[in-house]
């Protein structure tokens, strides 16, 4: 009750001579000091209020690139044709198992890196024939030829059949090497 009787000057004795003016000055200073935290708090309050009023999902954005993986079960095929194969004109069919994993539609191509074999004579790359999925045998070229196609797959095995044409008039005894046969994905 006594405090209610104090004049403004008594309450702030060390201020300027106009007690009321001192009170106003102090009030303004406090407001200036408190204004920044106050603003932050208010923003948080508003933000919380806003969150409480609506659903807001956190966004996650990823990019899954086109992935295609290819492997074969053997780096090389070695053949030793016997007389019956030379007489018939073909080696026995060899199989390359190609394992494919892809997350897109794919097409597989095959090509030879050189136009001839290394060996006793320049045996042409076209003497190598391939087939996939029961298709007719097709001679390999140095330009890519489509072997087969497929969709998204995981470790899908596609056997590719190979056989080599033999000509007794040209394929004289010796060692013949062909490197390399390249299997690649074709861009669709």
């Amino acid at each position: 009750m006594q405090r209610m009787n104090f004049s403004e000057t008594e309450r702030y004795p060390d201020t300027c001579q106009h007690g009321r003016c001192s009170v106003l000055h102090a009030t303004i200073s406090n407001r200036i000091v408190l204004s920044l935290p106050f603003t932050v708090i208010m923003l948080l309050v508003f933000a919380c209020a806003a969150h409480a009023d609506s659903t807001h999902n956190s966004g996650i954005s990823i990019v899954i690139s086109e992935v295609k993986v290819l492997s074969v079960d053997a780096d090389s095929l070695t053949l030793s044709p016997a007389a019956p194969e030379v007489i018939v004109g073909w080696t026995e069919t060899q199989i390359w198992n190609v394992t494919i994993s892809a997350n897109v539609e794919w097409a597989l191509t095959i090509r030879g890196t050189t136009s001839t074999w290394d060996g006793p004579w320049l045996k042409p790359v076209g003497d190598i024939f391939f087939s996939c999925g029961g298709s007719d045998f097709t001679p390999i070229e140095t330009e890519p030829l489509r072997v087969c196609t497929g969709g998204p797959s995981n470790n899908e095995i596609r056997p590719i059949n190979f056989k080599i044409a033999l000509d007794p008039l040209k394929d004289i005894p010796g060692e013949y090497f062909y490197g390399y046969i390249v299997l690649e994905f074709e861009t669709l």
């Binding site: 954005s61 990019v63 690139s65 086109e66 295609k68 993986v69 290819l70 492997s71 074969v72 053997a74 780096d75 090389s76 095929l77 070695t78 053949l79 030793s80 044709p81 016997a82 007389a83 030379v86 007489i87 080696t91 390359w96 190609v98 890196t113 074999w117 060996g119 190598i128 190979f162 080599i164 033999l166 000509d167 007794p168 008039l169 040209k170 394929d171 004289i172 005894p173 010796g174 060692e175 013949y176 090497f177 062909y178 490197g179 390399y180 046969i181 390249v182 299997l183 690649e184 994905f185 074709e186 861009t187």
Partner: protein, 158 residues
Amino acid sequence: MRKLVFSVFLFILLTVPSNAEPEPGTDGSLIIFLGPVQFFVVNNSSPLTFTYDQYSDFGVAQDLGDVNYDLISNVAWQVWGQILDGTGGGQTADDWDGSNWTLSVNGVAVNETSAVIIDSDPNPANRDDALWEVLLSIPWPESVGTPDCQIELTAETV
């Protein structure tokens, strides 16, 4: 704005390698070890026959027909011929007069005593249903009979 720039950068970072790299692939090689190969077969299913029933048939080479054969060789080759006058194949033995008669295959006289080369080539061959002419000359006179023989033909690589 920074976020936008970062996002674009991230996008490029993730997609450019996929587009810039060549399509994945794999390769393999082929090796052939090829040795000398030879295939030889005579296709005649019945004997060559000839009937000497005229005087003019004697003393001159008569065409008995041809040896039909297949020969495949990826190296130099040669074929030997020799007359066999035994009992093989139902033949009557020792009724062929190899001393006085001249039997030739591919123009080369063959005999009973030793094999002779009737054909050869330093190059590979791939002959199918090829023919060697067979000629026989029997001098006059010759007694009546039905002499027979076999011609053994042997191919070999050189």
